[in-house]
Symmetry: C2
Subunit: 463 residues, 2 copies
């Protein structure tokens, strides 16, 4: 076992670690359609966005010119805590599958937040601190993003209010406790601390809340608090930019051994992990310098790319945010219960959406029972208990490797292992007990979702 | 920050990784007093021990001659999954404390079992597999050891029955689920599957079980199952030997940068982590080649070294095991509730006990509220949420560093960060809520415990 020239794990030294994020938009002709203010019907201005987000993040959001954007020293210093993350050659998995393929995965779970989310949390907290802000607000569902941001806020000395979907806060008290340990205030949403929360509570007294409401509360709270901004953990271009540190590290590590992946696979929720993982390789592909295949994997229960529409839609279900042109199931789409909380999102990063629309990305939807089967096989031979989200990529990587076994092709497969499943054990229990099921939306469910996509000027000819 | 010559993290390459465990007993004159069979009153024979444990583990248990014992390829291959573990220079902690000291820690938590336990689990499962055994049994309390062994058993294709203290199985369903995911059968103890379990159930129908009973059940089950042995996760010499991979890696990493620690600090429960961490440095010290100070840290609620007796005692509370000469609070001692489950043990590794008795180790007992305070400070600046057990070492390392701040000494401090606290969040909640308390045994409590130490020939003159 593990006797090839390539080590089981490639760790970059501090000198080798990336000094730049990779902005794939520099190579997308016209990047993607701009955000639209639903009130004015016009593209959002930088000034308007800066009222909500940190200045530097807005600059990055709107930058479709510079391929490389320097990672400031203050962020690289923070990254040293948990980066470079290991690039693993999955020798044991290859052996178990009996495949001629080479399988590599980039493991982002070796930090207390348990996922890649910390890459952008660190950057956003740093920029807030540099701007002289004192506080941040955000929302969290399952809690990975909230945990990551609480760590970054503690490090840079910022106050942090996290609006956590009430039902999640009750179901995941341990996630909540990590955030509290890092000094964040965790407010179950809907709460009586904001007008948006009070409105919802008056309408639906017993509600367990929603991500849409939590976003609305966090945005409102940021606007009403001095020296405070709102931060978001996925979907947006600057978040994908920060996540490109994943792809940059992969490329540096694989280049050292002369390896160019034939296919790169990542799970797709809002798209930030996948966008970050593929960034430098996609940049090359857009310039005609490689022929890598990019595969985004989504849950069959929330098939945004494979069954959604490419249209302008709100980023939240409460319809309070600007509209983005993206693949969407409709902001009113309610995905069925699925344990990959991080993939239950009606929309998709505008960058990923545009690249998919232009034919650079293949999308696959998989069912959760098959995902958990792959997860358990992986855990037993590679020793890491993966997050349900990450396991979507594992499932498709295994399928690719088995296809190589049939065809004899020696493909080089790279996938993103975004995090660990230590806080997802009730989902594993359901699988272990044999009582997990797959619920896939039928055409009527989708139709209902599509009806929530706004009928507006921007969507003329698209719907 | 982090701008010295020494990187934030030192990862060894696969070529640099240790090929040998370090057997400190080779440098202890007479090693330590042998195990005694309570029935015959004589030293346990190799043959008797081999009925319970794997052959090779017994050989290692009784080896007090060879300084270096080769790590077989099959184990080194498994180790590649999660080793070498990072040796971290705690630049951020140093900065927060404003200390002139250099602080280093060896982080063993980057694997799914969440702790160093996997080092010995891998070795013991490998040897069982090599011996042609088909199955293993063990017990687990909080679940870290059980998790580690379930991973190793899955990897080497062994069946595994884990007797988990019933009250722990109910309190920690998530730990239990990890073990099930890795294919282990988790049996809440006491159970009706063994005579020992049935006896206890008949006597105390509603009991939540104890580690002593779980050990008795696991030993009985192993004896009655074909091709099966019992394995233990701490205390024994061969377990310390396997854990010496920690110290070996530390030494290789620090030697590269010319660093010799002035003080090495580890938490002490059964002693395996501490024994493994200090092994090569202690070996040198015993030969007069260095002057390192070794500090074992235990909870004030279970002060085995600082307030215990050096005598022959049973390793379990059910009095079924051989007797070991060790520091002990008495096998009947019931430590008060403390969140560091891994440190709630009445005895101490015979190797550590002997070295402590001979004056080579200093022991410190600390209270859990101060331990959690240190843990939270550490988490905020170093980004890792530590296990309560590990945090005992953090607490004393911080105290040492602050002492350096007062004296101006530039000590080099190395401590063992044995694991993560992801499954200990109810303990953190108690701390965050401000309702954690310290319960320290009074002299009467200790006296009661001492009365459970056997009055036998071996203890003449000791009690």
């Amino acid at each position: 076992m593990a006797n090839g020239k390539i080590p089981y794990k490639i760790y970059l030294s501090e000198e080798e670690a990336p000094k730049f994020w990779y902005n794939v938009k520099a190579h997308m002709r016209g990047a993607h359609a701009p955000f639209i203010d639903p009130v004015t019907g016009r593209a959002c201005t930088s000034a308007a966005l800066k009222k909500v987000f940190c200045d530097e993040c807005v600059e990055q959001e709107l930058n479709d010119v510079d391929e490389l954007i320097e990672i400031p020293d203050g962020i690289r210093s923070f990254y040293r805590m948990f980066r470079p993350s290991p690039l693993v050659r999955a020798y044991f998995l290859e052996q178990m599958l009996g495949t001629p393929a080479e399988i590599y995965y980039k493991f982002e779970g070796n930090n207390t937040s348990g996922s890649h989310k910390l890459n952008s949390a660190a950057a956003q907290a740093y920029y807030a601190h540099e701007q002289g802000l004192k506080a941040l607000t955000t929302e969290t569902g399952a809690g990975q993003w909230g945990t990551a941001l609480s760590m970054a806020a503690a490090f840079y000395g910022l106050q942090l209010d996290i609006f956590m979907v009430k039902v999640s806060a009750e179901q995941k008290p341990h996630r909540r406790e990590v955030m509290r340990t890092y000094g964040a205030r965790v407010i179950p949403s809907p709460s009586d601390t904001t007008a948006a929360g009070r409105k919802l509570l008056a309408e639906f007294p017993g509600t367990g809340g929603s991500l849409g409401c939590a976003i609305a509360e966090a945005v409102e709270k940021a606007a009403k608090t001095e020296s405070c901004r709102y931060v978001l953990g996925s979907v947006l271009d600057h978040v994908l930019l920060h996540q490109s540190v994943i792809g940059q590290e992969c490329k540096i590590a694989l280049d050292k051994y002369g390896v160019v992946p034939d296919v790169i696979i990542g799970c797709c929720g809002g798209g930030s992990n996948f966008g970050g993982l593929i960034a430098p390789y996609m940049g090359e592909r857009l310039q005609g310098d490689n022929n890598v295949e990019f595969v985004g994997v989504e849950p069959a229960s929330c098939p945004t790319l494979t069954r959604g529409k490419f249209a302008y839609d709100f980023c939240d279900s409460a319809k309070t945010t600007p509209m983005a042109k993206m693949y969407t199931l409709g902001c009113g789409f309610m995905p069925s219960a699925n344990h990959a909380g991080g993939l239950r999102y009606h929309g998709m990063s505008p960058v990923i959406s545009q690249l998919y629309h232009d034919g650079y990305i293949r999308a696959v939807a998989v069912e959760q029972t098959s995902v958990f089967r792959a997860a358990v096989d992986f855990a037993k031979c590679e020793g890491i208990l993966p997050a349900p989200e990450s396991s979507h990529a594992i499932k498709v990587a295994i399928d690719e490797a088995l296809e190589c076994k049939r065809t004899g092709k020696k493909k080089k497969i790279l996938f993103g292992l975004t995090g660990t499943g230590y806080f997802d054990l009730s989902a594993y229990k359901q699988f272990n007990d044999g009582v997990m099921s797959d619920v896939i939306p039928n055409d009527d469910d989708l139709k209902k979702g599509f009806e929530s996509i706004p009928r507006c000027k921007a969507n003329e000819g698209l719907l």
